[in-house]
Amino acid sequence: MNKKQKKVLIRIIISAVLMILAAILSAVVKNMSWYEMQAVPWDEVISLTLYLISYIVIGYDILKKAFKGIIRGQVMDENFLMAVATVGAMALSEYREGVAVMLFYQIGELFQSYAVGKSRRNIAALMDIRPDSANLVTEEDGRETISRVSPDEVAIGSIITVMPGEKIPLDGIIVRGDSSVDTSALTGESVPRSVHPDDEVISGCINLSGALYIRTTKAFGESTVSKILELVENASSRKSRSENFISKFARYYTPAVCILALAIAIIPPVINLIAGREAGFLTFIYRALTFLVISCPCALVISIPLGFFAGIGGASRAGVLVKGSNYIEALSKVDTVIFDKTGTLTKGVFEVVSIHKDRIDDAGLLEYAAHAEDMSTHPISRSIVAAYGKEIDRSRISDVNETAGRGVSAVVSAKKVLVGNEKLMNDHGISVTECHDAGTIVHIAVDGEYAGHIHISDVIKDNSKEAVSSLHNIGIKKIVMLTGDAEEVAQQVASSLSIKEFHAHLLPQDKVGRVEDILKDRPENRLVAFVGDGINDAPVLTRADVGIAMGALGSDAAIEAADVVLMDDDPMGIVRAIKIGRKCMRIVYENIYFAIGIKILCLVLSAFGLANMWLAIFADVGVMVLAVLNAIRTLKTN
């Protein structure tokens, strides 16, 4: 609790004690033997004095604000409502009710400010990834000195060292040291990642086991941690429709209830007078005051933004960065998910999946291919070398010749080796064995004779299948895959993931066209999400209703273009994001319906004289406390 809150708490306690004292003392005095003999009703004098003191202790600031508001012509706010209602109650000699309304109103306000402050701190703690300092390593005459500097001051290409337990302050590449890093603050992934020299590390991770020397690749302002913080901090400035609805609602609501209250106080007594009955002014003024207390819009005005704020905070803890509460709302309405294939459903790296030998054994085939391809930088060549996995003996290789769009010819261990596609084989008059697998086929010939082929393909991510079926399970109607790859490859990936609709052979601009077609066909009030890895996807991410960039840490264009950023590249994150959006919206709507519903019910009851001041206090403070507690639930995302 801060100073202001403590002060309010003390006032609440004093006022409550005085109130109880007033009730007890007046009862005691009344039962005294001398009571009947006094000319002055002492019980009333005592209780009136105590109630008045209690009222001023608890309500002076509200009264002051209401008074200032009236002077400025800004009458219609909750201070005004409370001031009129309580002063009115006092004037009707309902002292206890008057003090109680003010007391409970302050308790509600205190609770609300405490709850908001707590969730602010919660979210700040979740996002406590900002590093305070960096250990800059400078070398002079071969002597290493380490100085502690602010991360802003570290230039790109500097060497920094990170001790176990410290946060990595800047993005970079490890030059020395092995360790494992905890990425959970960024990705929600709890298993530490082991890192070695030449691995890239991102800022915001915590170094767990060994000292690391890192060459920085980004300035602090551009590094991952700064980007994320910027994104989260600016998140809730984009307001959702429900939030805008509530602030508009509040603007018209308060004046409307004030007029209604006035009508209740005046019209029925006047009608009574005309009809020749007793006017009953006091009864109707009391009803109007009750009406005013009920009408206080606090529950709505606080619980809706709080729900979104906590929702966005909870989502970032789960590795889902949502750029605004409007996108929380949009996520909850998604019923079509369009996936980019490469890098999203698949790993986006080529791997050798099978080897089909013809004349020599598998290992031999791979050995020849890896040696011949050793000098090539083509991704396919690298995947073959990676699959071979052993040391390449360069002395065995000579006469390497790479032909673009064909492959490589080389002499390996005095044997002429050809590694490449069918065209290369045809050029040398070698007939190939057809392969039925979809993907890239690399043929190998040794000394002019066909030796077999290696099947290389982009590998589907471990969780892709589960993600697709979970999306179906949570009610996503349509799942579409877009890819620039060949038809057969797309077909194979789509069928193994049970995706019915896919479009292959697409250039980046074609993808935008496809997404636009799907956008045209979507039903009213249902939205389309596009999921991509952020490379070449920026136009599509912007075009879709909800653009989700995946594993986009480090890709500024994607973070810029996307509405939702998944910090790791696990496709299950999409399911998580949609679930979070739905849960948050469910809670927001619960609060809207609950608060407005109870208010309207109590308003009607009070208009007909069926509600007293105590019910009014519940409708005001009780509803607010319940709505705030409900809103805080959005912070929990699992």
């Binding site: 202001k4 604000k65 200032k68 400025r72 800004q74 706010d77 909750e78 306000e109 609300q112 400010s113 908001v116 969730s119 602010r120 901090e233 600016n234 998140a235 809730s236 400035s237 307001k239 602030s247 509040a250 603007r251 819009p297 606090c298 005005v301 606080i302 933004p305 709080l306 979104f308 704020f309």
Partner: protein
């Protein structure tokens, strides 16, 4: 040109009032107050003196909510 300023305010409705007051200030093209993050994002009109405009924004906000603060 848009800038974000830290603010101090007690209730969500007061934040809405501040937003209205800031929007009505001369030199402010648009304004967005985020009560939960206690931030005020102000879009300035072309060629205005931001500091002067913000002083005006602060005094206008004080008029509607006298214990609020805008950190310029």
């Amino acid at each position: 040109m848009a800038k974000t300023y830290g603010i101090e305010v007690d209730c969500a409705n007061c934040a809405n009032k501040m937003e209205q007051a800031a929007k009505a200030t001369a030199g402010v093209a648009d304004c967005n107050v985020n009560f939960m993050a206690l931030k005020m994002n102000v879009v300035f009109e072309e060629g205005v003196d931001e500091l002067e405009v913000m002083k005006e924004v602060r005094s206008n906000c004080r008029k509607v909510e006298d214990d609020c603060e805008v950190y310029i």
